[in-house]
């Protein structure tokens, strides 16, 4: 397959007559690059979706066509050039069912190697830590474990496609209820073309008996990934969900535009943790993933609680703002983030905390680390609406700079329309301390180890929010990502 986008366009143009006939050919494994209603009908048909879902997708697509791609003022011209949405293939599945890995043993050894390097062999983790794994390869779910145990508790944890078939009423009720199909450019695109993802439903009063985990990977050339995740915690339920991603070396930019929706009903709690280490591109910024994700949680019920924790070390560009709408009285939203940029990476991340209910609380801790030519931006909003009596927010936003060519930026917006609110925002930017490194050196610790130790200390409050085994991976990841950045 050619890798030149122009050549691909030409190829697509030649095939376009054929494409219309292609729509009903649901035996095909992939569609050629390009996007139109036919492709969406193809995806929907391929997944045997109900009519309402097809209509929902088409509506999203039609809206998407009217929207402009966002251009953040702060990074007007990224060196990667504009994204060609017609050069992306919107559906690809593994060749055939026989080729799908039946268990984790059959997983691509290259992927396992990456896990190995991070000190967490996948199969070991699943076995030892009691983690249920729902691995997404390309866009089709292939392996789920621990299903039975979850079933005993009435927990639904399955691929999104399965949920559409088996629990259509739940999907219909909650899909798009937190992130509407027309929410933003990338969410609209996702809504039109999403292929799979995860679905979680925790019934009333159930505490999910294990951490739920999903591994994503992007591996087919030019295949954008458009996951859709929906997690619903019913009254008095609890769930902790872990999302980790890794990608092998690539030459081609790849678009990732996932949507994650969380719904927390009365007195429930959802903890959502992410480790993101997709391919960041090389030292010249070539290759690497575009990570444009919409994540939002709705604290719908009183006393509900949503907590986002993320460690972002990968991708060429990350735009991601996991947010909480605090609608229920006494609900709590939290955001803990570590974002590390090295080489020519750009991370633009933060959160929105929208306080609607009374006595709502939010807490934001953001740690940005910039090395090499990396640019790290915190962009956030705290909005206390008129009815949100006694709302509280505390935001702490610290940046650490390593090297003279990187940048750290902080752009928060704080809107307060209720006098009983208490909102506090603190931010600081500082260099990694030479005196700290020297002190460690004097005690026999090498400069590399000293930097890694100081950075881990800087991120401690965030890492402490991660489940234990994830925290270990995160620490390793920070170390690996900072390799060679000590001058």
């Amino acid at each position: 397959m050619t890798t030149d986008p122009n050549a691909m366009l030409d190829q697509w143009a030649e095939q376009s007559d054929y494409r219309w006939g292609f729509v009903t050919d649901i035996e095909a494994d992939t569609v050629p690059p390009g996007l139109d209603e036919g492709v969406i009908r193809f995806i929907s048909a391929k997944k045997n979706e109900p009519e309402w879902l097809l209509e929902w997708r088409l509506e999203a697509y039609r809206h998407w066509l009217t929207m402009d791609e966002p251009e953040w003022a702060h990074f007007p011209d990224h060196p990667w050039g504009p994204i060609d949405y017609q050069a992306i293939s919107y559906y690809s599945a593994p060749k055939s069912d026989e080729d799908r890995p039946k268990s984790l043993d059959e997983v691509d050894p290259k992927l396992l190697e990456t896990y190995e390097k991070l000190g967490i062999p996948l199969e070991e983790r699943a076995a030892l830590a009691g983690v249920a794994v729902d691995a997404v390869f390309d866009s089709v779910s292939v392996a789920t474990t621990f299903r039975d145990k979850l079933k005993e508790h009435g927990v639904i944890f399955c691929s999104f496609s399965e949920a559409v078939q088996e629990h259509p009423e739940l999907v219909k009720q909650y899909l798009g209820s937190v992130v509407p199909a027309n929410d933003n450019y990338f969410a609209a695109l996702n809504s039109a073309v999403f292929t799979d993802g995860s679905f979680v439903y925790i019934p009333k009063g159930v505490r999910c008996p294990m951490e739920l985990s999903t591994y994503f990977r992007i591996n087919a050339l030019n295949t954008g990934q458009f996951e859709r995740t929906l997690i619903v915690a019913d009254d008095d339920a609890y769930v902790s969900y872990l999302e980790g991603c890794t990608a092998p070396m690539r030459d081609e930019n790849q678009l990732h535009a996932a949507v994650v929706e969380l719904v927390a009903l009365e007195n429930s709690e959802i903890k959502y943790s992410t480790i993101q280490n997709w391919y960041p591109g090389d030292e010249n910024g070539v290759g690497g993933i575009f990570n444009f994700v919409t994540k939002r949680g709705l604290c719908k019920g009183n006393h509900s609680h949503i907590s986002w924790t993320q460690v972002e070390t990968g991708s060429a560009i990350t735009w991601k703002y996991p947010s909480c709408i605090l609608k229920g009285d006494d609900s709590i939203g939290e955001f803990y983030s570590v974002a590390l940029t090295n080489m020519k990476q750009q991370a633009d991340t933060g959160t929105k905390m929208i306080h609607l209910g009374k006595n709502t609380r939010s807490n934001i801790v953001s740690k940005g680390i910039s090395a090499g030519h990396g640019q790290n931006t915190y962009r956030g909003m705290v909005n206390i609406r008129r009815g949100a009596t006694n709302a509280r927010n505390y935001t702490q936003c610290d940046s650490m700079l390593m090297g003279e060519e990187c940048g750290a930026h902080t752009f928060p917006v704080i809107e307060v329309s209720n006098d009983s609110a208490q909102v506090e925002h603190e931010a600081s930017t500082s260099k990694i301390g030479e005196d700290q490194i020297f002190y460690c050196n004097q005690r026999g610790i090498s400069p590399e180890d000293a930097v890694s130790m100081i950075v881990n200390g800087f991120c401690r409050e965030v890492l402490a929010e991660l489940p234990m085994e994830f925290a270990v991976e995160a620490r390793k990841l920070l170390e690996v990502s900072l390799e060679d950045s000590v001058g």
Partner: protein, 252 residues
């Protein structure tokens, strides 16, 4: 043995050390005294390898290792320890984690096995008792929120943990009350041994009543202008640094 020969060092082209010769044999305690700005602390930092200073001439050799050839962490592995005048805080890193990384880095560098958690904790308990260090401090971030006295005690505790062969104490007595001073001195005295040498840098004689030196040097303007026994420290206390300079002039 720590052998310093004709050491010259400068910062921003400003010479600070102008030819230091100093030889501390194993088992000896030397004291370096001098007025503010004489270069005492510079010498300590240069020995430890602070890159802010440029070495323009001379050599530093510790037990046959040329220290100027190696980086600060390798100097530590070679057996050099400096107790900082102002120990820096490292937020988020617990003292325990820090020390275990330090001790195992040094052991690895020396080709020794790393200490396991049990061995490490046993050593911690034993050595913490030596300087009457509250074990709770070890679960706090490195020097984070420590009082002045706690910081200095923690420095001596780290020295006891890392078991160096050459110990540099940079004004460890500054900011200590008399009780803390005694505890720190007591810790140092317990560590005195025939294979370990000390360089105690201080402004005042006070510390030397508790850590009795074999040799006292007086540093003025980047040069050692006088060397003597512990009596010299007492005379200095009585007459001040100007007296040494006058005396030197008369001797000359």
């Amino acid at each position: 043995m720590l052998q310093i020969t004709n050491l010259h060092a400068s910062i921003d082209d400003q010479p600070i050390l102008r030819g230091i010769d100093l030889c501390i044999k194993d088992g000896e305690v030397h004291s370096l005294m001098g007025p503010n700005g004489s270069g005492k602390s510079t010498l300590a930092k240069v020995l430890a390898g602070d890159e802010a200073y440029e070495i323009t001439e001379g050599s530093i050799v510790l037990n046959g290792h040329d220290l100027l050839e190696v980086d600060p962490h390798e100097r530590a592995a070679a057996g050099l320890f400096m107790a900082f005048q102002y120990p820096v805080e490292i937020p988020g890193v617990t003292m325990k984690y820090f020390l275990r990384t330090a001790i195992n880095s040094i052991r690895k560098n020396r080709g020794q096995d790393e200490l396991d958690a049990y061995e490490f904790l046993s050593l911690v308990k034993e050595r913490a008792a030596m300087v009457e260090l509250d074990l709770d401090l070890l679960d706090r971030p490195v020097n984070g929120g420590f009082s002045g006295g706690e910081k200095k005690r923690a420095e001596i505790f780290q020295m006891a943990m890392l078991e160096p062969t050459a110990c540099i104490l940079d004004e460890t007595d500054s900011g200590l009350d008399i009780d803390a001073l005694k505890i720190v001195a007591d810790g140092v005295n317990k560590m005195r041994s025939p294979e370990r040498s000390f360089l105690v840098i201080t402004h005042y004689q006070r510390l030397l009543s508790y850590i009795v030196p074999d040799v006292v040097h007086v540093l003025v303007d980047g040069r050692i202008i006088r060397t003597g026994d512990k009596q010299l420290a007492l005379e200095l206390e009585e007459h001040g640094y100007a007296w040494v300079e006058q005396k030197n002039a008369v001797d000359a």
